[in-house]
Symmetry: C2
């Protein structure tokens, strides 16, 4: 396997939490401190810090070096890997929607005549 397996493991694990996904969404608007991030979630600073550590280990955020004010900023590189991994399955979800469409057509008695103008 040529895929960076450990990286994908860390990325997917980091994304499996709604608060961490919400933090990433917040960071699309620009960098933010722990205090700023804690506010909308009504979470304690240590709880937010813990989430940030998971995101940082996954490479999804980077943090400033300043000791007191260490703003977090989005690092979207690992999400490119997720997109590439997921893309390989595109034809399978598209096929399943095609099959659903076909099934709904059949249920409605339109079957293969749909769009060929012979009926109606």
């Amino acid at each position: 396997m040529a895929m960076p397996t450990d990286q994908l493991d860390r990325t997917f694990a980091a994304l499996a939490d709604p608060t961490r996904r919400a933090i990433l969404a917040r960071l699309t608007a620009g960098e933010a401190s722990v205090t700023e991030l804690a506010k909308p979630f009504e979470m304690s600073l240590p709880a937010v810090s813990k989430h940030l550590k998971v995101l940082e280990r996954a490479g999804l955020i980077a943090r400033g070096r300043e000791r007191q004010w260490r703003p977090a900023r989005l690092e979207a590189g690992p999400l490119k890997e997720v997109a590439e991994w997921t893309e390989r399955y595109r034809r399978f979800w598209e096929e399943s929607y095609d099959r659903l469409d076909q099934y709904l057509d059949e249920l409605q008695g339109r079957g293969k005549e749909k769009g060929d103008g012979r009926k109606r």
Copy 2:
């Protein structure tokens, strides 16, 4: 939030394991029994069954009803959600690659002259 949060939690958590991702990759070639899935991974049947349960709860596979031979098959619908979620971050990873390109150009002293034909 309009997103199916719990579904995404389950999907990302299920994908955070290389064996489960490899099982999904195997199922792109068609449905397979637990025994068939266990072989390439040199895993016990209970270990494979456990992974299948996680994938099934996440809606990433479906299993046949037959008691002894319950073939698993890929259900790619949740991966469409992952693709859609990830897509919202595309401009951020593209921007970071653009910045990297720009930086490399600057390092090589090409700056803004790149491609305009004035140099060389």
